[in-house]
């Protein structure tokens, strides 16, 4: 009796598991799951006020060690040369659907008044680290470039590559113009280190860590994400099926 019961239980869990994996491989089921991403984003955009701030912590709350993640060093010949030059010739290009394309030297970015925020970085894997970020509001850069009214997304092109694929990310205008969305050049009171994205990285404080792209060298305003690399708006979105909207 017990063995039959065991047999039934094992069989049922086998069926359940096999079924889940089969469902997970079904294009239509994955599309259904993916539609929940739109539901989650819609619900959060409904509940979260446009300019609601991520919590800013005090220095006492900061992680003693802020681990790095993803690329530790882009390691390309071009990046190594820039690193050797102390990023003296690093420029942040702003182009796409803007009235005035820009090419901003690092020194100019660092010379204007900036924002300092102690925020929590939440990795998609589950860990969190609290650090202090120094940088310029993205909204000011976009205003200086004169964003087209047709632009819907801001794409960040990075200096690091995974295999032959460059890292990139994108956000919509709600996050692009959020007061805590900054192009950071400093962390914890010093310039960004290489593992944390030197010389420039994005901070998107109301989304998971993979949205906060490191080694940013070009900001592109676009109307649609289709046609940019895999078309899903980011390296991980294209290659690992992570959600484009990472507010949860």
């Amino acid at each position: 009796m017990i063995s039959r019961r065991n047999f039934v239980v094992t069989g049922a869990s086998g069926l359940l598991l096999g079924g889940c994996d089969r469902l997970n491989n079904s294009v239509r089921f994955r599309a259904a799951l993916r539609s929940a991403e739109k539901l989650n984003m819609g619900a959060q955009r409904l509940v979260v006020p446009r300019n609601a701030l991520a919590r800013e912590y005090s220095e006492a709350d900061m992680s003693p060690v802020f681990r790095s993640n993803g690329t530790a060093n882009p390691g390309t010949a071009e990046y190594s040369r820039q690193l050797a030059e102390n990023f003296m010739n690093w420029r942040l290009v702003v182009d796409g659907m803007v009235a005035r394309p820009l090419s901003l030297p690092l020194a100019v970015l660092k010379s204007v008044p900036h924002r300092v925020q102690i925020t929590r970085h939440d990795c998609v894997e589950g860990w969190s680290a609290i650090g202090k970020w120094h940088g310029l509001e993205l909204s000011r850069i976009l205003d200086a470039a004169g964003l087209s009214t047709r632009a819907k997304y801001i794409v960040f092109h990075c200096a690091d590559r995974f295999g032959d694929k460059p890292y990139y990310e994108s956000i919509d205008l709600v996050d692009a113009f959020h007061p805590q969305t900054i192009i950071a050049w400093g962390m914890n009171g010093h310039l960004l280190t290489v593992p944390h994205g030197a010389p420039l990285r994005l901070r998107v404080e109301r989304q998971l860590g993979y949205k906060s792209a490191k080694y940013v060298q070009r900001i592109q305003a676009v109307e649609s994400l289709a046609g940019i690399y895999g078309g899903k708006g980011g390296y991980w979105e294209d290659n690992a099926d992570y959600e484009w909207y990472a507010g949860i």
């Binding site: 994996d21 539609s35 929940a36 894997e125």
Partner: protein, 257 residues
Amino acid sequence: MDQAGSNTEPAAAEPIPPPAPARRIAYRHRLPTRVWHWLNALTVFVMLMSGLMIFNAHPHLYWGQYGANFDHPWLSFHGRPIPGWATIPSTYNLAAARRWHLAFAWLLVVPLVLFLATSLINRHVQGDLKPTTDEVKPSHVWRDVRDHARLRFPTGDAALRYNILQKLSYVVVIFLLLPVMVLTGLAMSPAMDAAWPWLLDLFVGRQSARSIHFICAMLLLAFILVHLLMVLLAGPINEIGSMITGRFRVPPDGDEA
């Protein structure tokens, strides 16, 4: 009332027949309870198994606002501790597990809210789930604990009511564990923390919320295992049948048998 619908009451004018070896059938579970039960039977397993896959991505738990590899976990495993038979999908895939988890979360939350509203309106909560003052007396609870330990199950009308251990476990699951699962889940969302910063205060930080989320998930798993065990011991066909049709074959009392 769930348990009011006994169909063996003799008509008033008829002479009372001798106590036949009656197969007394009573209406025990109303439709909202049954629908919610079977929906949860699906959803909770998907949530647990996809959640365990997400846990595999960083199998370390911390207290406080932050917590990562260089900090001090209170629970920590090497590698990917949860085996494939317990996860969705069965091979490591954080992105897919998150898609399952964050989609099925809606099937957990929306029916939970509907069930709570319905059960307050139809007085399932007040009439069936709320312990009476007599039932929460230590002597009564202790007697019920002993009855459970001896696998002595209630018969007759008593079998149509939830006993005190049942009531307490259902109340803890419905009014404590499930709401805390939902709120700690929300507290892990950086966007929700911006909208509702009190979530971070309530659970004393995102990593504490993540730990509580995990602990409550394990308590729910323990509840499910005990629940399944009790169903098997109390007569699975009658118990499962009553959760499908609502009708329960009442175990006869000693003097009825």
